[in-house]
Symmetry: C2
Subunit: 259 residues, 2 copies
């Protein structure tokens, strides 16, 4: 939500409106977010300055780590200078240069976590096998650099089923294989690409999120204030055996998230 | 829906109310059912007579096969005497006697399909491994008797997560393993047991259905006139790559099933 590519948020970040940004952070904290995503990519040369300000503003408002959402090593470095505790860096990939510049930052000061995008200079993968091949290389490179698997969140990249009908199942099979082949690793994704070009997108995104949890996905980049989506993901985790005594499910029921 | 254990339906079957039963069949046909389940178990000695009447009444009303829902070989035999085309027999299991009496009926006249319950004289399985062991024996016994895998619908048996938190995931893993280990086989289940003892049961059942489809489930015993459930299952199949050009999804959208 704290992403300067959203028009209304851009203005709030551009004017360094502390109350507005803190409000967005608090709402996500209340809704159960584990990290607060911050993105200042649209500011070009000034991205490091604004990203740093975002981290400070968010962490003064809530007791949560940030997801530093930038491919720019200079911006990541500036943000980490002020970040308290281990952050989640989004992201590295196999694209030329991405790994070399970011990896040294991941062990600086704290043991930061990292999103590893299944993307290479050959473009976006389409099949399960292409995703697995890239994931294996990414994980190999990161672990060689002392980033242990529990700090790696692989994003197999969701692509729209309107483009190709099997793009959903290829992604789901990749999640399940990555989780099986690399014990202790995490998987993460955004959901909204799946529904591009189709009606009832939020419904489709939510249903795909449930299916991804059924295949082992344990992270997602979402709007945690979307009650229907959060209700769906919490319920899926309960059904996947990740909710002792159904406590989270019962809480979601009481909070009227289940519809 | 055409199950005499439901109080209002029992009376309609008991009085041989053709319009009422035909109406229940038509509604399911309109809603996209592949088989119409018929159950007259509560009538004891008269089960064969009533089951036969149900099959005749349903097949006069709609052009669909029946799911003959009875453990009683005499009732199944009576129903098959009047059934047109291959039926789905629900069910056989590893319980003493169940297999021997029903198997000969499956190749009589037509190549009938069968639901194979993962149940043995040792009771209901709890783990994935227990389900797989029973499924392997069931499939072995059926294929020895010339029932090919494409006619076998294995039901791994859903058990309530309120009893044990991992009952959902053990079931889901069993579905995925059975589909992988026996190419061409089908899996089927009822969904409602999963939510026993918890609030928002229809929501929980629906979410579990989506997760089961994500793991390869290709059949379910449901109320097809439940729009939210059907919308969820159709969407899950679309996302699982089983819906060319998203045609079923778009139809479900137009029919307002997606909520």
């Amino acid at each position: 939500l704290i992403n300067a590519s959203r028009k209304d948020v851009r203005e709030k970040i551009g004017t360094k409106n502390i109350d507005a940004v803190a409000g967005l952070a608090s709402a996500q904290y209340q809704a159960g977010a584990d990290y607060i995503d911050v993105n200042a990519g649209v500011f070009g040369d000034k991205e490091p300055e604004f990203l740093k300000w975002l981290v400070q503003t968010v962490q003064e408002a809530v007791d949560l780590p940030c997801c530093i959402d930038s491919p720019n090593p200079k911006a990541i470095e500036a943000a980490l200078e002020v970040h308290s505790g281990p952050a989640l860096i989004n992201s590295v990939s196999l694209e030329k240069g991405r790994m070399e510049e970011v990896v040294p930052l991941l062990n600086r000061g704290e043991s930061h976590h990292v999103v590893a995008l299944c993307m290479s200079d050959e473009g976006m993968p389409e099949t399960t096998e292409q995703r697995l091949a890239i994931a294996d290389k990414l994980i190999g490179r990161l672990t060689e650099n002392d980033i242990t698997v529990d700090r790696i969140h692989v994003d197999p990249l969701v692509q729209p089923i309107s483009t190709q009908g099997n793009f959903g199942i290829e992604f789901l099979n990749a999640v399940s294989a990555i989780m099986k082949n690399h014990e202790g690793i995490h998987t993460i994704c955004g959901l909204s690409n799946i529904s591009f070009g189709l009606p009832a997108r939020r419904y489709l995104n939510r249903t795909f999120g449930i299916m991804a949890v059924a295949n082992g996905l344990d992270g997602a980049i979402v709007d945690p204030t979307d009650k229907q989506l959060m209700g769906a993901l919490i319920t899926a985790e309960t059904l996947a055996g990740k909710d002792d005594f159904c406590a989270n499910y019962l809480k979601a029921y009481r909070n009227k998230l289940l519809s």
